[in-house]
């Protein structure tokens, strides 16, 4: 052997050191071999390790390092060349691998580091998501609670139940210790404890509404945390050392009915609030969470709505009860009124009979008394009695008429009549009085006014007479004009009677009559009173005119029955007055034309006097014949006599009328009348006695009336006059022609 550099491993000197090196190398090699095995094992186990290649590299590096150290073991002693080559190869390999690994590590270590960062980031994210999920869950739970609460609250319309339920449910949901509701009192100055959760009967605690804490709560529509020591929260006696739980108060708006407008939503600017106070349990260290506060606010609003619904319902129930009570009261009143009307009708019916019987006796006996022998004073007295009793009888009739009119039991008696004749008759009746007062009466009938009409002639005449009579009564001088015409539609509408809508048709027409006088007039404010019963126009000028004040009231009712309207126009006191009425009359069917040309107008159904037995007493043969001729022409059965004695002999119950001529010479006619009265004591047996005379003076007429004649006719008598006279006589049993 040449000199080799290798140190001959001599066991003897450094044998110990060698030994330790030998052992260390062995263990290093062992470690170097086992570490990659472990690495491989664990890598295999874990599925996610991304750098296997690096591990393989590393493993190779370590293995080679181990191999190197292992081979090193052989180099301590003499080793052959092969060992040296192997040693060299392994070292070279190891160097290569380790360099490669080093290079690789430069690449991968930043990556490994960033993995760590990402892991940290993800962990944070996960924590955040967890938190959010917790939040959502609580919110959803809150919503569920609200729905449930609302459902409970709205399931009833009773106020107490609503409030109680609210408190109970809130208490349950939020696990409250106490929950209370303070309502404002009637005066609005205090809050009164109305409902609590735990206490059974809260008795009259009140707090003034002006407390600052309360104002604070009322001004915000959120739930507000308040101190547990303020008066609204101190509901229970403090239980010693326990820490009271947090208290929250929220306002509950009380919506008034008057705040509801149909088109808008109710404004929440109501002044009245109630206060809801919620207390957490005293020693739980719980705190009010935001979601719980939101829950409370929502519930408070719902409660407000439910309360207003309940209030509306209460209101309407109360109104309904009120209406029912009113109905009952009205029913009772109606029944009472009916009873009263019935009682009055019975009374009237009885009084009618009771009043009329004595009246009848008075009038009848007075008339009979008139026909007996009386001294002038006595006659005057009897006449006054008769006049007064006639007036009284008229008054009784008027009152009875009026009460019948008001009952609506009066019905018009319709018939065809001569319209022109009605006006003329009224004129004739009014002329005497008018001429005494020196008033001019003018009648103006329009040319298109029909001659015949269908209606109630008697009542029309009564109305017309009343109106004209009033005109005459209240006029001291001047003139009175009566105008009658057919009303056309323009003149029908009167602004004073806006509800009067007359509609003329083919079978009806509207008669308009205007009576204008130049008398004392009526002041405009008195005009409506004229038609009220018993209301007199109390002006001084008319104080002495008599009349019960019923006339115009009756007229108004008649006019109304005739579907018309009556009113008075006057420009004031002293300016005269115009009374106007419009009535509805029917148009009669066309009359028999042929008869009209020969005989004058037919004035009604009763033109048949056939067989009517009459007696004509006239000592003048010629006039006797003429009168007979007249009556025969009308169809009567005429018996003529020339003297009173003959007349008395001949006259009997069969004769209905006795026409006697009363000329001036002698009192024959008058005596005859008296004798006839004596002969027939009962009025219905006696024939009507009518005087025919050519005298126009009043004395004759008065004498005739005095002896009890039923009528006086002025000679010469035309056919037409005789016919109408007979008609009148037979209908009215009396006829005194205006002289």
């Amino acid at each position: 052997m040449e000199s080799c550099n290798c140190i001959e491993p001599q066991w003897p000197a450094d044998e110990l050191l060698m030994k330790y090196q030998y052992i260390s190398d062995f263990f290093i090699a062992l470690a170097y071999f086992s570490i990659p095995l472990e690495l491989i094992y664990f890598v295999k186990k874990s599925a996610v390790f991304p750098y296997r290649w690096v591990l393989v590299q590393f493993g190779a590096f370590i293995v080679l390092c181990g191999a190197t150290h292992l081979i090193n073991l052989w180099t301590f002693s003499m080793h052959s060349r092969t060992v040296a080559i192997v040693m060299t190869t392994s070292k070279v390999l190891t160097a290569v691998v380790s360099c490669a690994t080093a290079l690789m590590l430069v690449h991968i270590i930043p990556d490994l580091l960033s993995v760590k960062t990402r892991e940290l980031f993800l962990k944070n994210k996960a924590a955040e998501l967890d938190r959010e999920m917790g939040l959502i869950r609580t919110q959803e739970e809150t919503g569920r609670h609200v729905r449930m609460l609302t459902h409970e609250i709205r399931s009833t319309l009773d106020r107490h139940t609503i409030l109680k339920t609210t408190l109970v449910e809130l208490g349950r949901t939020l696990a409250l210790e106490e929950c209370a509701l303070w309502m404002p009192t009637r005066t609005g100055l205090e809050l009164q404890l109305s409902y609590t959760l735990r206490q059974q009967n809260p008795v009259g605690y009140t707090v003034p509404i002006q407390l600052p804490v309360i104002s604070q709560v009322f001004t915000s529509n959120h739930a507000v945390k308040i101190s547990p020591n303020c008066p609204v929260a101190r509901l229970r006696p403090l239980a010693g050392k326990y820490m009271p739980g947090e208290v929250v108060a929220v306002r509950v708006p009380l919506l008034h009915l008057s705040n509801f407008q149909i088109n808008d939503w109710p404004e929440l600017s109501t002044k009245r609030y109630a206060l809801m106070v919620l207390m957490l349990p005293s020693d739980s260290a719980r705190q009010w969470h935001v979601h719980e506060l939101e829950l409370v606010e929502v519930v408070a609003d719902q409660v407000a709505v439910a309360l207003s619904h309940a209030a509306i319902l209460e209101e309407s129930m109360r109104a309904r009860d009120l209406l029912m009570d009113q109905n009952i009261a009205l029913d009772v009143a109606r029944r009472e009124a009916e009873t009263a009307i019935r009682a009055r009708n019975d009374f009237l019916a009885v009084m009618n009979h009771e009043m009329r019987t004595p009246m009848h006796a008075i009038i009848a006996l007075s008339s009979l008394l008139q026909e007996t022998e009386l001294t002038p004073e006595q006659r005057l007295m009897v006449e006054t009695i008769l006049k007064s009793s006639n007036l009284l009888a008229t008054l009784i009739n008027d009152v009875l008429d009026l009460s019948r009119l008001e009952d609506g039991s009066l019905q018009l008696q319709l018939g065809t009549f001569n319209l022109h004749a009605v006006f003329k008759e009224v004129l004739n009746l009014i002329k005497p009085i008018a001429s005494v007062k020196k008033l001019l009466v003018a009648l103006n009938l329009a040319p298109d006014l029909p001659e015949y009409a269908v209606g109630d002639e008697k009542r029309l005449m009564q109305t017309l007479l009343n109106v004209v009579g009033n005109a005459v009564k209240f006029t001291k001088e001047g003139n009175i004009s009566i105008t009658a015409f057919v009303a056309k539609s323009e003149s029908l509408r009167d602004s004073r009677a806006p509800e009067f809508f007359p509609v003329p048709s083919d079978s009806h027409f509207y008669l308009r009559v205007q009576v204008k006088d130049s008398g004392s007039g009526i002041s405009p404010q008195d005009i409506p009173k004229s038609f009220t019963k018993f209301a007199q126009n109390q002006s001084i000028a008319t104080r002495n005119s008599n009349g019960s004040g019923l006339g115009l009231a009756i007229c108004k009712r008649f006019v109304n029955l005739m579907e018309g309207h009556i009113w008075i126009e006057s420009e004031g006191l002293g300016k005269g007055c115009t009374a106007i009425f419009i009535v509805k009359l029917g148009i009669p069917e066309s009359l028999n034309e042929s008869k009209l040309s020969f005989m004058p107008k037919m004035s009604g159904p009763q033109t048949n006097f056939t067989g009517l037995k009459v007696v004509v007493m006239d000592d003048n043969g010629v006039s006797r014949s003429v009168t007979k001729g007249l009556l025969v022409h009308l169809g009567c059965d005429v018996m003529t006599v020339g003297s009173s004695e003959e007349c008395l002999r001949v006259v009997s119950q069969e004769h209905k009328v006795v026409f006697m001529d009363v000329g001036l010479p002698g009192m024959d006619g008058y005596d005859l009348a008296i004798h006839i009265h004596q002969k027939f004591t009962r009025r219905h047996e006696r024939p009507l006695i009518v005087a025919l005379t050519g005298n126009t003076d009043k004395v004759t007429k008065e004498n005739c009336m005095r002896v009890g004649m039923d009528g006086v006719i002025l000679k010469p008598v035309s056919l037409e006059k005789m016919r109408s006279v007979l008609l009148d006589l037979l209908e009215h049993r009396v006829l005194f022609e205006a002289i």
Partner: protein, 151 residues
Amino acid sequence: MDNVIQLQKKLVDYKTSLFNEGILDDQFTQLQQLQDESNPDFVVEVVSLFFKDSERLFDELAKTLDQQNVDFNRLDAHVHQLKGSSSSIGAQRVQKVCILFRNYCEVRNIEECLKCLQQLKREYYFVKNKLETLFKLEKQIMEAGGTIPVQ
């Protein structure tokens, strides 16, 4: 036929003239209206009655006025009768004289009464004449087969 129409026209003219002159008044028309089928000669009968009555009355009047002491009441009564009759048939002028006569009776003026009587007679005969002519005309028409025209 022609004859009848002529006669009818003559009658109408005549009647109209009587009315216009005031000899007859409306009452006479009324009398004519009373004449119908059941009473065909009514007017003639009444007028004849009038003539008879009037003449009787004239006698009475003359007799009364002849007396020494004229009974004015009786006179008045007679004149009243005459007035009634004449007015009944429509002899207007006769009636007017009667009214005048009665006035004089009231004042008891015999002279005037006598004058009135004369006038009365004159008027009476005048109207009698006229009426008789009228009736003759009517009779002629009837005989000729026509009808009396109604006025």
